[in-house]
Symmetry: C2
Subunit: 480 residues, 2 copies
């Protein structure tokens, strides 16, 4: 019967959230009543109700997945968030801190004392602890470090030493390894001694006595093979093995390309260090794409929707400052032509069109080139073909759209020459945008920068100032 399955509705989470909010609301109501009536008998009664609410809330939270609690915490305003947080069982604190976004994590950690933080941290694996470490106060980290067994302490030290966007940062140490000269029967007996295998164990790692990786034994292969066969005869060679200092992005591409669930990580000598699993990759891909979107939107980092005004101002400050500078430069370019504008005021109305369309067109080229660079589709010797193609697109667009605008300008201001200057300026600015749309990301990549970050600001700055300059200069020369 279908009824026996407790299907986890995807919409359930929204309901969970509403229930929590309702409980919090009722609790606040009770608190305000206690506050108003003050009498000790009332206090007692009300606090009984209060405690019932708390117990209900706690029961609800205990039954939830850490990721779901994280979701609820993120969706609550600060005060409610801390009320819920205080009800979460302390041995789950660590897992939940790992799931929430950076600013929410900071708000939760600020609310915990050293003792709670140490307890939360100690419940985690070394690789998880390494992810949390940058947000923990130093005293907490010292305490945790001292309490760790030697092996885990080494793992933590290793995990913390890898840069953020490296395979090492994605790696965990939950590997199950076997020898190549035993039978599958022996492997099966060995596995039965586990209560459970680490999450995402889709394959066992085959190593020799020096922990050198010899191959991998997928569970799916183990279960379809005859028990008397030898591991070495059944195992796959480890086609994809990662180094801890490989780029995380490259590892993600390998997971996508070869549809992996886990991949071994080895050092230069081929010794098995750990593994990367697809859940870490999926989180990485999502975070990466999110931070790209934030970068384009002009936010420094993920913003807690309920952050205090001051936090938000700080998060958006640097980007606005940059834009202010580029806008001011563009304004000075216009300032240099004030004489011309005084003589022909139509220029003031038309110039933002030239600048704006240039920026849009440049960003189109940029987006395409950045994508192709990220996928490694552009070879150095193809740059010239790209310039040629983008210039051709720019000329077509410039003549067509610029032509339409030229006709509009002519019609509006009854001035043929103004229309011609408009068309010419549009075409020239689109050509400038095309060259920059290829040049900026290509050159930045060659200099070792990430072309996705900041290139859009640069191109818009140049096509703004450049568009104003081209249009006003052409007008000054040919119309006045």
């Amino acid at each position: 019967m279908a009824e026996t399955i407790e299907r986890k509705e995807l919409e359930d989470l929204q309901e969970d959230l509403q229930e929590v909010q309702e409980l919090l609301r009722r609790q606040r109501l009770v608190e305000s009543l206690v506050h108003r009536t003050e009498g000790p008998r009332h206090e007692l009664e009300e606090s009984l109700v209060h405690r019932q609410h708390q117990a209900e809330l706690r029961r609800k939270l205990d039954a939830m997945h850490p990721a779901d609690i994280a979701y609820i915490l993120e969706a609550l305003p600060i005060e409610d968030r801390l009320a819920v947080w205080s009800l979460v069982k302390s041995d789950r604190d660590g897992e939940i801190l790992l799931e929430v976004s950076e600013p929410v994590r900071e708000s939760l950690i600020r609310d915990m004392d050293q003792h709670e933080l140490v307890a939360a941290a100690e419940a985690l694996d070394a690789d998880e602890l390494a992810d949390l470490a940058p947000d923990l106060p130093e005293e907490v980290l010292d305490d945790v470090f001292r309490a760790l067994p030697v092996e885990e302490r080494e793992q933590l030290r290793a995990a913390m030493s890898y840069p953020e966007d490296s395979v090492g940062a994605l790696m965990d140490f939950d590997v199950v390894s076997v020898r190549e000269d035993v039978t599958l029967e022996v492997v099966a007996r060995y596995l039965r001694r586990f209560d459970e295998l680490p999450d995402h164990t889709d394959q066992l790692f085959v190593v020799d006595r020096d922990e050198q990786l010899k191959g991998t034994l997928p569970l799916a292969k183990l279960v379809v093979s005859e028990p008397e066969r030898i591991v070495a005869a059944v195992m796959d060679d480890a086609r994809v093995a990662l180094y801890p200092d490989d780029k995380a992005e490259d590892a993600a591409k390998a997971f996508e390309r070869y549809d992996l669930v886990s991949a071994p990580v080895v050092n230069e000598k081929g010794k098995l260090l750990g593994r990367v699993t697809v859940d870490a990759v999926l989180d990485y891909v999502r975070e990466k794409s999110e931070s790209e979107l934030l970068g384009i939107g002009g936010l420094r980092e993920v913003e807690d929707v309920f952050a205090p005004v001051w936090e938000s101002v700080k998060n958006r400050w640097s980007w606005l400052a940059i834009n202010l500078v580029t806008a001011f430069i563009a304004s000075r370019v216009i300032g240099a032509f004030e004489g011309s504008i005084e003589k022909l005021v139509a220029l003031a109305a038309l110039m933002p069109i030239v600048a704006g369309i240039g920026g849009n067109s440049g960003n189109q080229t940029l987006t395409m080139i950045v994508r192709a660079l990220a996928l490694g589709q552009i070879q150095p010797d193809q740059a010239r073909a790209l310039y040629r193609k983008e210039l051709a697109v720019a000329i077509v667009n410039g003549l067509v759209w610029g032509g339409i605008l030229g006709v509009l300008a002519w019609w509006l201001y009854d001035n043929v020459a103004l229309g011609v200057v408009m068309t010419a300026a549009m075409t020239l600015n689109l050509m400038l945008a095309a060259v920059l749309g290829v040049a900026i990301p290509v050159i930045r990549t060659r200099l070792g920068h990430d072309p996705a970050v900041g290139s859009s600001v640069m191109i818009t700055a140049v096509t703004d100032s450049g568009g104003f300059f081209i249009f006003l200069a052409l007008a000054t020369v040919f119309l006045l």
Copy 2:
């Protein structure tokens, strides 16, 4: 010994590509020689060399993973791409067509005749075929359809009936299912009858005789449990089961949240239809984030870097047209104040700053709200708190940055009143941007639209025209 492991270097692909390009280059050289000398003896000799090159290239391609061949095809200009494509073994065509991006797929399919296309399609599973189907000519699809066995025909029909962004579109039919009343020993014997399990089989699905899903049996649990135990006693209840018409995005979130490798898909009656695996989810997340980036950059779809100029123009056309319209409206707003600009030409130089910073600030708010909406963090009753917060941020930024600009304007044009108008206009436009940054995505979500698409254009259009209007109107009223 480490040497025994054939580690797949992530950089290898770049080398593969260069090798292929070198072979193609040499081949073209030979062709041009044949062409020039014409003589039949030469032709024979040269074509021998030619055939050697081809054989080498073919050998190289045969040894490559389909995803890697797809990468090479994408990175080659059209002519080379088709030369390589003709050398790929025809039974691999289908897999490779699935891996390449849409426009490249079209260029390859255009080069194939009906016979080749039918052969390529027939090598695929029903769910893969459904992904490819929209790009195939109808005759090909008819042929393939007729050749399919009944069961697969049904699966194909089902797979093609689901909308693009649904769980059904991600689903495959490669499920291995077992009964709940048998022992693990029996399951193990059953599995050994397979040559191999479908990719990403991390769990078996437990069904009754009506194919109702009763639970799941993870392989990791199977291998650690004693063989004499009964499936029902060991299995998990299927906590996450998806419906084919759930949104793919929600399924992706479930995979991320609960770190899944596969999840069963059931119909309303609980009957097992298929499964979704993490590789499909990873591809979906990557494609989704890519199409968001393309949308922001103003491209209609992924563009083949080597597409003809005309294809590129078409891909960018619609976006430029929209921007042209909004830019033209902004231009007419300025046009309405030409009299004021004539009297005080400084207005022309300062007005783009007000408009530009408004757009940037609005996009910051928008980005944050869109993200929070996507994560389900904003409840309807919280909208008012968000408006209040964003307005506060706008006022702080307006007074600070607007103040700085006001002082600059005062200093440049020696006009205190102009500076005050500048500061006031900046603050008002930032407030307009803040309100729109919350309102546009919230309202569009309520109307059932995706707030990520097009909201940025809308907000920029309003803050441009609005910024010009606010600044020029204030100036006209207070300065002239």
